[in-house]
Symmetry: C2
Subunit: 302 residues, 2 copies
Amino acid sequence: MEELAQVKEKIKDFILELEDKKSIELFDYLAFGKMLRAKLIFKIAGFNKTSLELSAIIEMIHAASLLHDDVIDEANTRRGQESINSKYDNKTAIMFGDILYSKAFSKLALLNQEIANIVANAVSLLSMGELQDVELSKKFNNSYDLYLEMIYNKTASLIEASAKSAAILAKKNIQNFALYGKNLGLAFQMIDDILDITQDSQTLGKPALLDFVEGKVTVPYLFLWQRLEDKEDKKILENLFKKPLEQKEQTWIKQKMQTSKALVDSINLAKKLGLEAKEAIKDEPNAKDLGEIILAMIDRDF
Amino acid sequence: MEELAQVKEKIKDFILELEDKKSIELFDYLAFGKMLRAKLIFKIAGFNKTSLELSAIIEMIHAASLLHDDVIDEANTRRGQESINSKYDNKTAIMFGDILYSKAFSKLALLNQEIANIVANAVSLLSMGELQDVELSKKFNNSYDLYLEMIYNKTASLIEASAKSAAILAKKNIQNFALYGKNLGLAFQMIDDILDITQDSQTLGKPALLDFVEGKVTVPYLFLWQRLEDKEDKKILENLFKKPLEQKEQTWIKQKMQTSKALVDSINLAKKLGLEAKEAIKDEPNAKDLGEIILAMIDRDF
């Protein structure tokens, strides 16, 4: 069986242990996506019994966090499928999230004490990040530092913890892999934020510029705001924040992002973080393999 | 400082470690109540550095579960205070719950592997129990077995895990203390369910017979339903389920519970479970102390 299919199978085994009909039913509606975290773990620690278990645990935690995120964002879909909060209700999504989290922690406890501590800490950070995301969306945030802290917590912390944990299993340099995971995670989130602007709504499967409409001032908007020298323009951008955008307003934003180079510099920043991730593990025997994950992420059609 | 005050202080220390302003702010709005689980741990394992830490972890987990419960039940108050989902919003309550859970698990991981596994399993059960509670409330549940399974999961599992974990710390008989905790937990929930019927709404701080109005067919209703021999009466009871109750309907229920002895037999069942809990640890050197927790719980003004 293919590696990622085995991860899914392992998660199903964990859930079957609960002997809970409802949880088994709900498992089928989890959308696992590309399983970046599991892939990363296998690239670092190889594919074996323990790394398979760790991957299943981390993907379960990621799935739990998405269940709670979808409740918070009132999302109806997740990766093109109807989300569990929409198909069932918020109660079901919250509690199934708790079931997945706690099952993952009970397995972690048996796996490795140090890893259990690292991963649980990352879950604290990602929950804090989710709250910060909501908080920052209340008004126009023009602080890059606050944005960076939030995406580190919300996205990079669990990817960092995955890389670190895999390095512990493989007895590799923990610090280097932590840095690799952290920068990979930051780049990953920035690219996600950039694609929200550059890709058409059909490719994305959601409305164009949705982040900004929902109050998320991501890195291209931050750069744009900083570079708009005309006070009037700054005001226009601030006024468009968190509102449905007409076609000509969308065009205005996109054109300003081109002329100010806010967009291209955001892409370059994400690439730079990707290269820093590569740099962190350049002396590792499988540096080429590890670099490929980053390349696959960076070389996108923006 | 008094023991339970030290538990609160320890929880605050854990939260301060997160260096998250929002979490520190939210800590002040947690309603800790009587801290039954912490008390239980101290009675079993004595008061020392490790048992204090375990108590803080378990009370944090309990607080997290209540945050999510309040979102699910759309509750506005918790122990006479405004609940966090009401004071802030559902998002905040869900994420702060996740922060408390994950911080508790990261501490558990460092404390003791076996205990970490036991407690995490209990959290899976309590989340399953919460979903079962919602599920059972959809229509009139007349199965005592389903009720018992649900209250074991929802309430008794974490009390059982607390007693078991404390026994591990104190190197006492794990099985006996698990049984003690389980029966104590079941009795505790049943008594809570009975008080919803026998106490006036002022004492309870919530409307009378609220459980039944909300669709919860607790043990006194189950016994009543079983004992109503007249098919008409059974029908009346089923029809009152999950509806606002007029005064005369409330009186009808209460009278039928008296004449059928459904109420007194529910109380006796809870007492019997309490005595079974006592029996489980009767050979322990501090059996008297451990029995007192149960007595304090059972000898209530019904």
